[in-house]
Symmetry: C2
Subunit: 337 residues, 2 copies
């Protein structure tokens, strides 16, 4: 899908946990929590707080009033997307609930952009989150169990990101969205919930390949092609799969999960993951590079692993999905031009 | 949101379980299963089969080829929407994963219609499902536990519905979608997962009231205002709440959950519920009334209860959400005009 008039990404905000704040991107996030409960009584409530705060920060940074935000597009990793339901209820704004596992930031921005492009809303807010502790409890083992994590496991990012999309240009716009490539479910039959990177790489490959075909573009047309949370294991799988199709990404590939943590000192194994990973890295790091003029166009491809504890325990596979969003520097924007 | 050019609801299909087939609408569904496993090994897989079959039936009835369906908009009640992920993977069509609890049929039709209205897709398919056994296991007690159900409990419908939306008129179109009113989360603080009707009624009230305000309409402008699955308890609550705001629905109100089962003989207590309830009743019954010219315009308002077993067990409330869709008879359509 190509938008005739690009949709403006006016503003964004990110909030992360303590560990994420200690990582290589730590200085860039808008807010870093000092403890991972964020003042809540349960991990799930803590995750709801991340969504609530991300929206509040984004409103504050943009100076836009809540009543001017027509719709919310939100989702998270928890069963029945409860982080969104309980985090966003107080905003009393019509809500589109979404589920795309860790690809939800791409899904929400895609649907938000479609709605703005259709002329059906002037401004919408897209918000996603994940929380290490609530995700481990939801998908693997509660932290109290103290299980050992294999090196292929990724570390779910505690963080929330919110994005304000607008039909019209403003003064402090961060970037613009010119096209999207929604993804299909791709299932290579992998069953390891401790190796999400490998489960999602085929979906990322499919979406990136399809995108380049649809638009008649090459990797060189992008400064970076950024996946959500493949991590080190998934990155290698993606590069190999694309190479088999004759596409060499090389250094043009970047992965939010790899950027988030320092593998050597933070004990995060394969890298960061979760809806919150791609969302916070996009807000704090990727959009900054576009704003500063270091990059002019990226393909943002958050990846999701479609499993639940029920499907996993029933011996099912872990299919993947990835949604591609083309994000560009605002033409004629300030600095470094 | 009002669509300048209405989006065409070209075709639809419904598949239900044995009990639903024995209800008052039994003869109207496209397919009735003889056993509720639908040939699968688990309840979740059975529910996936409902989505897969609903899409297959809809393609078959419409004569449209899968490759001409640009996107799927799908969701279900299970954690991480696994019924959709596993049911729809084989179609290899870009998928937007949604979560709106039992309001998902309204959510999927709304977002599908927006995408078509934006001119970004010629044809899209919206599909939702629920299954009595997988839902009881997901939200309350597995059937093997044999717990007793209070009279306020509803009976999750085993069924799947698929809707083909198009930008252009065809020969056998069922209806058209002229406007939508996406809902907010409304939380009255109720906590009883065995009384979903009462939990969702405030959200239905809010969406219906907001819709009538936004469009400057009265209940009389609709032949029916049809909620998804409030059941007998929720219906009473809705009528009372609207009455307090000066709006009398009276006999103009209809509820898919009430229509689905015979309360006296089917032991379903408050009525049917689940994503599959509103979806299958819309496909089999409501669209038929519009086609036959008995009605010319309805407001379809599927209602969802935003709980999960985690939030419920942590003592949280059950907030509700409801999405309104205005569905009209195709102007100048055949029979009884």
């Amino acid at each position: 899908m190509e938008f005739g008039t690009p949709v403006i990404l006016s503003c964004s905000a990110s909030i992360v946990g303590k560990k994420e704040g200690e990582g290589p991107l730590g200085q860039l996030f808008d807010q870093v929590g000092q403890e991972d409960m964020f003042g809540a009584k349960t991990w799930e409530e803590a995750e709801s707080t991340l969504q609530k705060e991300a929206v509040a920060l984004c409103l504050q940074k943009s100076g836009v009033k809540l009543k001017d935000v027509r719709y919310l597009f939100a989702g998270d990793l928890l069963g029945q997307s409860i982080a969104s339901s309980f985090g966003l209820a107080q905003y009393e704004t019509p809500l589109f609930g979404l589920y795309g596992a860790c690809s939800t930031s791409g899904l929400s921005i895609t649907l938000g952009a479609i709605t703005v492009a259709a002329g059906l809303a002037e401004k919408v807010m897209c918000v996603t989150s994940s929380h290490f502790a609530s995700a481990e409890k939801e998908f693997r083992y509660p932290l109290e169990y103290g299980n050992q994590r294999p090196l292929s496991a990724s570390w779910t990012v505690t963080g929330g990101g919110a994005f304000l999309l607008s039909a019209k240009r403003g003064e402090k716009d961060r970037a613009q969205i010119s096209a999207v490539t929604p993804g299909k479910i791709v299932d290579y039959g992998l069953k390891d919930s401790m190796n999400m990177g490998a489960c999602m790489a085929p979906a990322a490959c499919d979406t990136i390949y399809q995108h380049l075909q649809d638009f008649g573009r090459k990797p060189e047309d992008y400064d970076k092609i950024v996946t959500g949370d493949l991590g080190y294991v998934g990155q290698q799988a993606l590069l190999n799969l694309l190479s088999q199709k004759g596409i060499e990404l090389g250094n043009r590939h970047m992965d939010c999960g790899i950027e988030m943590f320092d593998q050597n000192t933070q004990d995060t194994h394969a890298g960061g993951s979760g809806c919150g990973c791609a969302a916070t890295v996009l807000s704090a790091f990727l959009l900054k590079k576009l704003e500063e003029g270091e990059w002019s166009r990226i393909l943002f491809v958050p990846t999701g692993a479609l499993l639940s504890k029920v499907s996993f325990n029933e011996g099912n596979t872990v299919p993947g999905i990835a949604h591609g969003v083309v994000i560009e520097r605002i033409p004629g924007a300030g600095k470094k031009d």
